[in-house]
Every structure is written in C-alpha cells, then in structure tokens.
Amino acid sequence: MKKSSSERIEKRITSSVYVGDGTLRNRIDVSSRYFILEVEIKNPRASCPLPGQFFTIECGGGKEHLLRRPFAVHSIVEWSKEYAVIQFLVEEVGWGTRRLRNIMPGDKIGILGPLGRGFKFFQGNHLLVSGGIGVAPLHFAACYLEERKIDYTFVAGFKSSRSCYSGLEKLEGNVLVFTDDGSAGKKGFASSGAVSAFEQAEYVAVLACGPEPMMREVFQMSSSAGIACQVSLAERMACGVGACRGCVRRGKNRNLCVCKEGPVFDGTDVW
C-alpha cells in the first residue's frame, strides 16, 4: 500500500500520566444513551491528552466491580499543569456506565491517564469515520484539526436519531450524519457514508473508530484508495498501562497491546 507522503506534524508519544481523583464538574445528557462527563483535575502535572488517548475511570465498584473502565477523551476544556477539565462522551451500556450516569456534580472519581497512543495527523484533508460511540475520540480529533486549520470530513453513523450526538453540530468542518433507520441525517451505515465521502474528495489520512466490522470496511476502502487508515481498537482492559497483557489481541502479524501500543493502530497492523 502506498504510504501517505504528507508530513507528520505531531509525534506519537506516550505522555506522562495523572493518577488520582478527579471531581465531576458537570454531567450533560445528550441523548437517551449518551452523556458527557466533565471532570476536573487539580494539578494534573501530566502532558495534555492527544486525540485517541484515553483515561481509565474507577466507577466506584468497590470489591464487586474491580476493573476501571476506559474512555477516550472527547474534548479538553482546559489543560494546564495546575488545573484541567476534560470531557468524556459516554454511552450507557452496563453497570459502570450506568453508575457514571448517576454520580453527582462534586463527587470524586478515580482517574488515570492520558494513556496509550493517539492518532497521527498530517497536513491535508482528513477523513474521520465513526460508528456509534466511536464518535467520542473523533470529535476530539476534529476539534484538534480545526485548531490547526486542517481540513476534514466527518462521517458519523448512529443507530437512530435517539442516539445521535448533537454536539457534532458545533463542529465547523464538513459533518455528515447517517442513521441506520434514516431517522436523522441520511439513511445508511457510516461505512456507506465513507464510500460517498471517498467519491467526493481526496484525503491524506483516514481515522476510524466504531464497531470492528465497520472499521475493517473503512480500512479496506482506504487501502484500495491508497490512503493510510488509522483505527482505534477496543478491548477489555485491566491495567491500562501495558502491564497485564489483558487487552492484547491478535494483529495481522503480531500481538497488539491495545492500551499501550494503541488504542490507535495503522489498519495494516491489524488486518
């Protein structure tokens, strides 16, 4: 596959990490299943998270629910050595996310991050493709590109209007929403949205996050078009820092440690 010739503008590094309590500053319901958690950290002393990086959050599970839950950064409201405010976009799917939906502003939550490696960005037009809650890290990527005045097209697929994430409306780039049932945006899957996006413009990079079959399809499209595709994988995690090998999955030629080497991988490493 032809490697994109564009220049890399940001190093993909693992940044230094904050571990400790955060305080819930705000919780905003954005759809029946999605909500935003706005978390405040005093003295984070960690490097500012990059799009694609994630935090693990202790949802108050005590002895019954032992594992933290990983969440990608959805946006950075503020970040300095002394004070930071981060937003996570969370989909309620089970115990931990339900618990997060019920915590109150002012409550403390254990957080650890930023973890892993995020997306690489280039000079030139980017295609962002998300399915469902995969919109979370790509929203951050879009904001990041806007700040740097880099063009992008954002194709976001959702089940229906009920799960649609309205925050996309605030983005300045080219945002195309699809729903499986056509109840909002265009009818169709994110991957079919990607097809038309490919027809309409040229890209230097494709960034995808969502269900694995969708990411694989997008990767294959990108490959045929000769464009590098980065995908953000999700695996069950225990440590989040590369210590337990719990999040490791088979890649094309080798094991991929999702929390440490990822969650963002070149599609060619995966399939």
Binding site: K63, L66, G110, C239, G246, R249
Partner: protein
C-alpha cells in the same frame, strides 16, 4: 513503626508485594505506583521462549473478581534479560522473578539464567498457572512433580526459591510438603482458580481461552484457607495472597501464616492501593498490640 520483615533471608521493607502478572515488569507502572512503599515486585512469569498467549478477549470482570486467560504471554528470558533488566534495576524496589517451563530441567535452566542476571532477589516458580495446557498446573497438582521441579531448581540456584501453588487441588498440604522436601525456601500462594463465564447471547465463553483464572476478593476465603493449611503443614515462609483489597485483608493473611502478602487484581482498580495499605499498616498493628508485622504471622487461635 518498622514494617520490615525477613522472608527466607530476603529483607523486605514492608510485607506488601505486587503479585506476578498484575504489575508487568514493574517499569510499566513507573510514575504511577510509588514503589518506595512496596516490599517487592514479582514480575510477570517468563518462559524460555517468548509466548504469544491466548486469543482475545483475555479479561472478563465477574462478581468480586476477574477472570483472565492471558495464557502466559511473555517476551521470553532473552528479551527479559536484555530489555527489561536494565529498566528494572533502575527502580528502587527489590524484584522477584517468576518462571515457568515444561520440564524440571527447563525450570532449572531458567533459574540459572535469572540468577546470573544478578538483579533478582528471589525466584518464584509458577507451577500453578491455569492458563497453559502443559507445564503449569500439571506440576503444581502432583506432589512428586512439585518436589522434582523444586529440587532441580534448588541445585542450580542460590537465591531463595518460592514455588507458587494452586488451591485447585484435592490436598494442598501434600503439595506444600512436597515443595518443602524438594528444598523450597518458602511458598507463594494462591494462583488464580480455574473458572468460566458465558456470554448468554452468543453462547460463547467470555474469554478467548474459554476457561480462565479467577482472582480478586471472590477467592479470598479460599486463599486464606490455603495459606493456613500450608503454614501448618510446613512452617515455611509464605507469600500469601488472593483477593487482597485492603489492610484488613493483609492482617488476615498474616494471621493465617503469610510473612509477605501479595496484592494483584486490586492494583487494577487502584494502582496506589498497595501504598495505601502500607500507610495504614502501622496504626492497625498498634491497635493489635504488636510492634512488628512479623509478630502477627501464624497467630491464628484455634
């Protein structure tokens, strides 16, 4: 209060150690865990050849526990010695190595290489990993094989040797005695307990390895009994653990006979949990009227 304790000739500044496989090679947690609290880190089990482990998913949370089927993925002894040892020796914490092999000879050979590295203060023999078809559990469930492995290692190594036992056996005392006869400096227990979880919708196991090992508070009562059984059977110094979550758990394990107590799964929830336990220890020991952790060891009244 001085929290230090002697464990089969090793000096630990506190009785709390990090369990094998849950703290990687320690350096992954550099900057996250304050190692100055920790008595020792037991690093992930290493084998002669690198192992790629089990297919994903490898982790599944269950009630009060975690099932894992890592399958002993590891980088192999060569990479451990060349790539990891330099990192590890920079950390201000004693490190215990953990090894697994398919034959007694294999254990012995690995043990020599570990000792030659010169940075490991002790050696754990993982003869009880439920996540490998051969080599692991097979030794740890058979007294003769346990004895053979331990004595083969013993002959090749001068650092203290701790065979790690499984509670998933009919009679753990028998195994502990065999380890003792083989020349074990101490015992480490317990490893995870074989278990299974099912995704009802797909009718598939939750883990790529189908079955996995259960860890966490769910197994604590089983682990405490194992420690007490082995302490009574052998009197050997014991690294005890399984479900340790807070300082009360640590005290329970010490009362049952553990000289050091390992924290594993709890580290996932709170990487600084082991440190908090160490901070809480002195006042708890004072309340119990003892001036050193060693005075608690094996004091269960029956």
């Amino acid at each position: 209060m001085d929290l230090s304790i002697e464990l089969a000739g090793i000096h630990l500044r506190s009785p709390i150690v990090l369990a094998s496989g849950t703290a990687g090679y320690a350096y992954e947690y550099d900057g996250i865990i304050d190692f100055s609290y920790v008595g020792a880190v037991i690093i992930k089990t290493v084998t002669m050849e690198p192992r790629s482990g089990h297919p994903e998913p490898r982790i599944w949370e269950v009630t009060a526990g975690v099932l894992n089927s890592i399958g002993l993925e590891n980088i192999g002894i060569d990479a451990l010695l060349s790539d990891v040892v330099p990192h590890v020796s920079n950390l201000d914490v004693p490190v215990i190595a953990s090894i697994a092999a398919e034959t007694a000879k294999g254990f012995a050979r690995l043990a020599s290489r570990i000792e030659e590295a010169g940075v490991f203060c002790a050696l754990e023999l993982n003869i009880s990993c439920p996540n490998v078809e051969r080599g692991g559990l097979e030794f740890g469930v058979d007294p003769k094989a346990t004895s053979a492995v331990v004595s083969a290692v013993r002959e090749n190594t001068s650092i203290p040797v701790f065979p790690k036992l499984s509670s998933a056996v009919t009679n753990i005392r028998e195994i502990a005695e065999a380890a003792y006869i083989g020349g074990a400096s101490g015992l480490s227990l317990i490893n995870t307990i074989p278990g299974l979880a099912v995704d009802v919708a797909s009718r598939r196991a939750r883990l790529g390895g189908i079955t996995g090992g259960l860890s966490g508070p769910a197994i604590k009562p089983i682990a405490l009994k194992a420690v007490w059984d082995c302490y009574q059977a052998t009197g050997l110094p014991i690294i005890g653990g399984g479900g340790v979550y807070d300082v009360q758990d640590v005290l329970e394990f010490m009362i049952c006979g553990a000289r050091a107590v390992s924290v594993g799964t709890a580290t996932f929830q709170d990487p600084q949990g082991a440190g908090e336990i160490v901070e809480a220890l002195p006042s708890c020991l004072e309340e119990l009227g003892v001036d050193s952790p060693s005075r608690l060891v094996g004091t269960l009244e029956t």
